[in-house]
Symmetry: C2
Subunit: 459 residues, 2 copies
């Protein structure tokens, strides 16, 4: 990068807002996958105005800009393959206004999701979306990927809580959309266009989010299934009974084995699957009755045991198990590729069968877990990146996993996004006219192609 | 319209799919407001393919196209001020697939909303969005306006149920977006862009909608408030207690008086306001306890009486009152203009005070009612269009109503849209950069400007 450009960036954000030693650059080159590529420079803005000036400079000099929260993405979206500027939003992490009366919060986009959640919960409010990365990921990253999480079955995904955004467009203009109203049909819904656009249409600097009242009562149950197929069938049996639990998570035996190897939490090693199910509400008796009804449905569908957590400790233990799947898999295998397919919920048993078949045919383990209640599964292929055969096999398996999802009326991603890793499959998943319109909108807003080039949409 | 064009349209949709006698044209020139302007021709397509051919023809000949459901819009969006083609979608009214297992339905866009609701309820399923027009309005019109309704407080608006759309673009290309998955972050969210775009970005021909389980238990209560201000304050008191009723409707004394003049339903004529509140769920005791808690909050905040409907008859009577407000107002006054402002929910008492003050200062009655729970009020100005003074006064009052909404952090429309009637106020309500981006997206998709010209966005 030219000295003149570096100087100008330092003028915009201050000397300490620009990083460019090789060590610094290495730290900002990876994400939650095994992808890695250093940027030319890292810039840490503190205001929307600074972001605007940085993008104007980048446009003038045709420098690629990759916006980054905490780099926990699962599809390569924040990896700067083409160098350029990594725009790290973590210094913009303030809560600007917590409006208790209207149940809304206005934040800068670099705030960590769990920190925001802790703050609003102090006031009896609740921000439901809970990507498993919520202790490191930022709200801005969550919005850019329209992140989900276990609780999204009942409460909806990140985008369902976005009331308004401040976005710096690729040409530096500052756009504001939405506000303090719950319903708003004035003009086109631009906030939904930016939500999930993976940093390709602009930089989200502020977000106004809807909050709900914190539920008073939560019950969490685990059900052990000798048969994975029975566990899969049970998901739709519960939902078809008209019950919408908060979470309905599936964990298969491969995942259980990895958790137990890594942490010895006392999970059953002699079953093919577990379901973790949670219900909540404000009415104690009704929540208790709901978890009982769910337990009965599990038993009718082949659960060996159903255990309702008796206290906060037992509850935390179950969630500890669920949250530690990804790190446990990482300990058990040199590498893993975690996918994020979704299928119609009645296709879950068939999807799980086919995933296990792919694993058997190719000889690499696939751990299957995820938010089965909304048809969103995370098949993780375990492999060794240093072994070229295993990498090639993994790639074949990933292709078959996507084929499976599409065959069953599903799609490539429920909450991780496309990034770079899923690009080769996008043309099969998305209608050609739709893709063409998406590309033309991108080109309209970013004619110079500086925003996260090579991501989210095929070129 | 040229004879050649009429012939070509008849070739596309058949002779009986084209209407052009003066009587026919008059019938397709109005909407739910007092606006009126005849098209040059009415075309009733039966397939997406026919719509595509019609739009290709319209583009070639530069003929404006106004898509129309049942003409119940409240902002002039379906009035063909510039003549051209009215594309009436009512022959495309089939249920293509009711997928009970996945809780989804695929429909053609011309189906009447209440007919769809009745069909899915036969299977124990439920389509919550319930615009007051649901017995005449179509799903396509609901999506084009992102329609709301009383139940949207708990269940969300039309857009929250749209899983996928088939849209014919202005150039005739057929675009498909979304599918049978609940979560989908593959590419940009185009379905939300088309939802609420008021027929300016294309013609919605099919929609896949999410359904939920039909609630087993519903309780409906009415609360009578001697003071309108107390009724307004109660709205936020209920929501701040962490309760989310299905509906939380406000009806003021002007509206009550009109209903009673028209229908004599036995509503109290000696109070300033009523609230109609509904709760639902699957747990009988819990729903009953919730309505009791709400009743107690009403009493604490100044309700004279709270009555819970004892049976379906009493419940229907309350909803009959609510639904008959608009027709009753129409009977009491030669004309009415019904607005649709939204404000943050804690601003409702101040908004209601200011609305009453506008009425007092200008001397024309304003009936205030609406979905107070989500801050969405329908102030209706009663006037006589034949009296030029009253029309001028009404126009001043409408401008002040919008100023009030914007002053209080609200906006112009919660569920009716902009159409033609609210266009003059849009630049004050929407960020200039956002408006510019919206216009450029419209121009990108409709460079010839044939789709509902002069609506939704300022030119």
């Amino acid at each position: 990068m030219e000295e003149k450009t570096v100087k100008e960036l330092k003028k915009i954000v201050g000397r300490d807002g620009v990083l460019h030693t090789p060590e610094d650059l290495a730290v900002y080159g990876y994400d939650g996958t095994f992808e890695d590529s250093s940027p030319d420079i890292v810039v840490l803005p503190e205001t929307t105005e600074q972001v605007s000036r940085i993008l104007q400079l980048a446009g003038r000099e045709r420098i690629p800009v990759v916006t980054r929260g905490m780099g926990s993405g699962m599809a390569g979206a924040s990896v700067p393959y083409r160098g350029g500027i990594v725009l790290t939003m973590t210094r913009m992490n303030r809560i600007i206004e917590l409006d208790e009366e209207n149940g809304m919060v206005l934040v800068e986009s670099g705030i960590i999701t769990a920190e925001l959640q802790a703050e609003v919960e102090k006031k009896g409010l609740y921000y439901p979306p809970d990507p498993s990365s919520n202790r490191q990921s930022t709200i801005g990253g969550n919005i850019a990927c329209n992140a989900g999480g276990p609780r999204c079955l009942k409460y909806g995904v990140t985008g369902d809580y976005v009331l308004g955004l401040t976005v710096v467009l690729p040409d530096g203009r500052i756009l504001k959309t939405g506000g303090k109203t719950i319903k708003d049909v004035v003009g086109y819904d631009l906030k939904s266009l930016f939500t999930g656009s993976e940093g390709t249409l602009g930089v989200i600097t502020e977000a106004r989010l809807k909050l709900i009242a914190k539920p008073d009562v939560i019950h969490t149950a685990s059900a052990e299934f000798p048969s994975l197929n029975d566990a899969s069938r049970t998901v739709n049996a519960i939902l078809s009974a008209g019950i919408v639990p908060v979470t309905l998570e599936l964990i298969d035996d491969t995942a259980i084995a990895c958790i137990e190897e890594a942490m010895s939490l006392g999970l059953p090693r002699d079953v093919e699957a577990m379901l973790i199910i949670e219900t909540d509400g404000s009415d104690k008796d009704s929540v208790a009755r709901e978890i009982e009804r769910i337990g009965a449905i599990c038993k009718e569908n082949g659960a060996r045991t159903v255990t309702v957590a008796k206290d906060e400790d037992e509850r935390n233990n179950l969630w500890k198990a669920r949250r530690s799947i990804a790190p446990s898999l990482a300990r058990m295998s040199p590498n893993k590729l975690g996918e994020d397919i979704t299928v119609p919920r009645n296709a879950i048993p068939e999807a799980v069968r086919r995933l296990k078949d792919i694993s058997a045919r190719h000889g690499l383990p696939i751990a299957v877990f995820g938010h089965a209640g909304d048809g969103n599964l995370h098949p993780n292929v375990l492999f060794d990146l240093r072994n070229p055969d295993e990498r090639a096999t993994m790639e074949k398996m990933i292709a078959e996993i996507f084929e499976t999802a599409l065959d069953l009326g599903g799609t490539l991603s429920g909450e991780h996004g496309i990034g770079s890793l899923k690009l080769p499959f996008m043309e099969r998943a998305v209608d050609a006219v739709s893709l063409d319109v998406q590309k033309s909108i991108r080109n309209l807003l970013d004619p110079l192609g500086i925003m996260n080039p090579g991501k989210a949409l095929p070129e």
